[in-house]
Structure formats: C-alpha cells, structure tokens
C-alpha cells in the first residue's frame, strides 16, 4: 500500500473578497503619488535611462490594473514591480547598451562650459552662432547649455549612447567656437 504523495499546491489561488467600488480618481491618485518614486527607483537604483524609466513606470501602473483586486500592499507591489521591470530591462538590453560612464552621464552642465557661453559677447551672437549650425547640433547645444539637460538625458532623447553624446557635444562646442571666431572676423 503506497502512501499518497505529498499534496501538491493548487495552481490557482482562491479569490480575495471583492473590493469596494473604486473610482477613477483613486487610480489617478495612485499614479500621481507613486510615479515619481517608481521613475526614481529605475533611474537611481538601476541606472535605467530616464526616458525608458518613465515608460517602465507607466507599464507597471498599467499591469497593476489587472491585479488591483488582489494586491494587499500597494507600495510593496509597485516597488517590487519596478525593481523587477528594471532588472528585466537590463536583461533584455544589456548586450546592446554601452555601459554608461555614470559620473559624466549624470552630471549637469559644467560651470566651465557654461562660462564659455557667458563669455560669448552677447545673446545675439549666441543666437547667430546657433542659427549657422546644423539644426540638430544647435538643438543639442540649446538642451545642454540653455535648458540644462545632462548628457545622459540628451542621449536618451536623441536615442544614442551617452558616450557618443559626450563626443558630439564637444564637437558641437568646437564648431560653435569656429563659427563665433568667423563672425568676429567678419566684423
């Protein structure tokens, strides 16, 4: 007489009691209160590029909707979700994305670089320089030195690596200097 095997667990769980009716405003509050946290976790803990981190957080919120009735601890669930999503993100992208130089990539505009622009004779000259540059290069310089984005953020926006963006910004600056020198010569 063989003993019965150890009992297997059911593949599905008993349902939780139905929740109270939920209004859309409750979901809006969940999004508002937690979106920043999820994006921060993806960016700061896992170095996920900001643009992608926003996308990941949004996907986490959408995936939460089908689980909302069974989630007992919202923050634990959302944090677990963004951490796992970030890990999976790197598993999927790890081979295609250059390792970031995090110091350079995260840094805001260099004060010395800012001075380069401040030292330009005036804003008109700056506008003229930017007008004479290829549109994309001008856009990059505006983002970096006027709007204050980091190299990493611009790289994400332009869909290139941070290292490449770092070189491109240097090239743009060099070209800007050449144009400025030309303008000065014309005068």
């Amino acid at each position: 007489m063989a003993p019965e095997a150890i009992d297997d667990t059911p593949a599905d769980l008993r349902p939780l009691p139905p929740p109270c009716p939920v209004e859309e405003s409750v979901f809006a509050r969940i999004y508002e209160e937690n979106c920043g946290l999820l994006v921060s976790l993806a960016v700061r803990k896992f170095q996920v590029p900001l643009v992608d981190a926003e996308g990941l957080a949004h996907e986490v919120f959408l995936s939460y909707l089908r689980h909302s009735e069974e989630v007992r601890d919202l923050h634990h669930w959302l944090i677990g979700a963004i951490c796992n999503a970030s890990r999976y993100y790197w598993r999927k992208h790890g081979r295609n994305i250059e390792q970031l130089d995090t110091d350079v990539a995260a840094e805001r505009p260099d004060p010395r670089s800012r001075n380069v622009l401040i030292d330009l004779p005036d804003n008109i000259a700056l506008a003229e320089v930017l007008d004479r540059m290829p549109p994309r290069w001008a856009h990059i310089l505006r983002l970096r030195y006027i709007e204050g984005y980091s190299i990493k953020e611009i790289a994400e926006q332009q869909n290139v690596t941070s290292k490449y963006m770092q070189k491109l910004v240097a090239k743009c600056l060099h070209r800007a200097q050449e144009i400025f020198n030309g303008l000065a010569h014309e005068e």
Binding site: P3, I6, D8, C35, E59, S63, R66, Q157
Partner: protein
C-alpha cells in the same frame, strides 16, 4: 526606525519614499500627464466592464451545452477583460471536480484573448489577458496529466508576456505552473530552479500567498525526488512565513506536507502532530471535505511506514468523517483501505464486517452497480478465505476508477 533607501524600507516608509523621489523631475511633464490620463481611462474602462459583467459568464455557460462552448468566443459581451477574469475564476472552480469543463473554458478563454482587437486595451494589458488564458489552459492540462501539452500552453503564455518588462509577476504565475508541470515530468532540477525564481519574484512583490505556494511546490518537487530532509526544512521555513501572514489555509497544507516528510524521516510523533494540526486548521476553516482526506492520507502514510495501529486509527477517523459528510464513495474506499490492512494482519472477521457495511452503504446510496458487485465479490472471497491484501487492493483500484469514470462522464 532606521531610514534608508533600501527598497524594503521604502515600501514601508512614506517619508523616505517622498525624499527618494524628490530629486528626479519628469523628463517630459506633458507626456507624463498624457500617460496618467491613459492609465485612469483604462482603469475606468476595466471597472465599468467588471460592473457590467457580474454574472455574464456563468449565465452563458449555464445556458449553452458544453460541446458548444467554443462558439461562445463570438459573443460580444464575453470579449472583454472582465469576462475573461470570470472565465479564469470558472476554470479554477471546476479544475478539481470537472477538469474537462475547466479545459473547455480555458480553451474558450485563450481563443477570445488571442483574437481581441489590438485597440481594445493597451498592449501590456492584452499580453496579461493572453498570458492568463494560456496559464489556465496549462493548469487544466496538467491536472489531466497531459503534461507535454500543458508545457506547450505554459510556454505560449510566456511568449505572450515576453516583450513586456513590467510583467514579471504575471510571468512568475505562469512559470510556477510550468515548474509544477516539470516536477510532474520528473524534471526536478529545472522545476526547482524555476520555482525558486518564482518565489523570489513573489517575495519582491510582497505576494506572500503565492510566495508560500511556490515554496510548497518546491518542497513537493524535493519530496518527490526523495529529498525528504530538504523538503522538511523548506516547509518549516514556509510555515513561519504563512504564520506571519496569518494564512491559515497555507498553514494547514504545510502541516500536512510536514506530516508526510516526518513520516518518511521516521519521526512518527512529529508526523502525528503535524497531521493533527492540519485537521484542526481545516476544521477551523470549515473545509469539511479536507478533514477526512487529510486523515486518510495520514493513515496511509503512517501504515506504509509500519505505524499500523496509529495509521488504522486515522483511517477509521477518516471513514467516520466521510460518512458524517455523506461522502459515501470516499467512506467506502477508506473502508477498503482498512480492510486491506486487516486482511494482511489476518483479521478476516472484521474485514468481512467492514465489506458488508460498504455493500450496505453503497446500495443505500444508489452507487454504481459494478462497484457494489465488486465489493460483494470481495466479501464472498473473504468468506471462503480466498482474499488477500492484493485482492482488496485490486477492488479498491476498480471502485476508484469507476469514481473517476463517473465524474469524467459527468463532465
């Protein structure tokens, strides 16, 4: 409290969550607002569908012959998330009693999920719907012991989720079923690794119920691999988690599993304590059918390990409880388990009395005539001193097969 950026602490501490999030500004505030609008709009849609679909699935299933269920995929009011959630619930409800019906519903569900318009929900939600439908199909096929097909269904579910990085929890739910299938195919190493990974994911999400469930599946895999000590240790760890989460049903199941492990490890005192804990917890929960099943399983496990007196006491208790619950078939099968031991011990008169009781109970309960005839034949064999333990075992297997055949036909 020590404040930190540790994720477990962030889950607990509102102040640290605010501080941690303070330094990252939205890359594109307009895009974030647009995403928030999409989120609330989808949330509202899902809620409205749930409100409007409360009994739609049960009604269609009730009013449509089983062999025409596949045609229900065309019904517009079944082609939404709420209806699919209800179908998943119907699968779960019927899995143990009517697995073929459960499979028909899971197939219907997969068919609907795969054919929903891409514009109906965001891609990530569509992927979840498909993943769940394939997981349900995998579960039912596993229950029907069609393991290769079950594995294929689980893998279809994984494929549906693959493009979405945010669906680790959904992925783990499917992979847990996959792990259980692999364990039943005796691919223990793969099963163990998958289940361990699922457990980690469930822990990350704070889903303690599934965390314990995956752990029990891991323990089951270890037990079937005859690694009883490791299974026992893992179960003790899970018992602590289930107690901390006040999950009484899991505690009951874990005690039962621990009973089996202890019996295998020769610690019969401990085995008896765990089995008694299981019975007490199922009784508290009102799971009346689980109480005699536990007693019966415990009795058989103890007898197999040579603890005949204790085992017989448990089998007798199980039979009494089955009769109390009017579960005549199970009570009869339990009596045959007892008769087998009695014959083995040479106690033919009690075995004879017991088989006569079974005949009377089966007759009064209008049971299958072939089952009654088989037990009558057994009683007659005992009368002429021609019955062995093997004879009783064969009759037991025959009656049990009729039970499955009956339920299969009823499906």
């Amino acid at each position: 409290m020590t404040h930190s950026d540790d994720v477990d602490h962030l889950a607990e501490c509102s102040a640290c969550r605010q501080r941690f999030a303070a330094n990252v500004v939205p890359f594109d505030p307009a895009a974030r607002r647009s995403r928030e609008r999409e989120f609330t709009s989808v949330a509202g849609k899902l809620e409205r569908e749930r409100d409007a679909s409360s009994d739609v699935v049960a009604r269609y299933l009730r009013d449509t012959p089983t062999d025409e269920w596949s045609r229900l995929a065309e019904m517009p009011d079944l082609r939404n998330n709420a209806a699919l959630e209800l179908m998943s619930e119907e699968v779960r409800r019927r899995l143990h009693r009517k697995p073929r019906e459960a499979l028909a519903i899971a197939n219907l569900s997969a068919s609907i999920a795969e054919s929903l318009a891409p514009s109906q929900y965001p891609n990530v939600v569509l992927a979840q719907l498909r993943g769940t439908a394939w997981k349900d199909r995998a579960s039912t096929l596993r229950y029907l012991a069609r393991y290769d097909e079950a594995l294929e269904a689980a893998e279809r579910g994984e494929e549906a989720l693959e493009p979405f990085v945010s669906l680790e929890h959904d992925r783990a739910v499917i992979r847990m079923v996959k792990g259980m299938i692999l364990a039943q195919q005796e691919r223990f190493e793969e099963a163990y690794s998958i289940l361990a990974d699922c457990r980690r994911v469930f822990r990350d999400y704070g889903d303690i119920t599934r965390y314990v469930q995956a752990g029990r599946a891991q323990a089951s895999s270890l037990y079937n691999e005859k690694r009883h000590t490791e299974a026992h240790d893992l179960l003790l760890e899970l018992l602590r988690d289930a107690i901390a989460a006040s999950d009484i049903e899991s505690q009951a199941g874990i005690h039962n599993n621990l009973g089996y492990c202890a019996a295998h490890l020769g610690d019969f005192v401990s085995a008896n304590i765990h089995f008694s804990e299981t019975v007490a917890k199922f009784t508290d929960l009102g799971f009346t059918a689980e109480v005699p099943r536990t007693e019966r399983g415990a009795g058989l496990a103890l007898i197999a390990r040579g603890q005949v007196t204790t085992g017989l006491a448990r089998l007798r208790e199980a039979r009494r409880a089955f009769l109390m619950a009017r579960m005549v078939e199970d009570a009869g099968l339990c009596a045959l388990n007892i008769a087998e031991v009695l014959i083995e011990r040479g106690d033919r008169s009690e075995a004879r009395l017991l088989t006569q009781d079974v005949i009377d109970e089966f007759t009064a309960g209008g049971m299958n005539q072939r089952a009654i005839a088989a037990v009558v034949e057994l009683r007659d064999a005992i009368d002429v001193d021609d019955a062995t333990a093997e004879t009783v075992h064969t009759v037991h297997a025959f009656v049990e097969s009729l039970q499955h055949e009956f339920h299969g036909t009823a499906n």
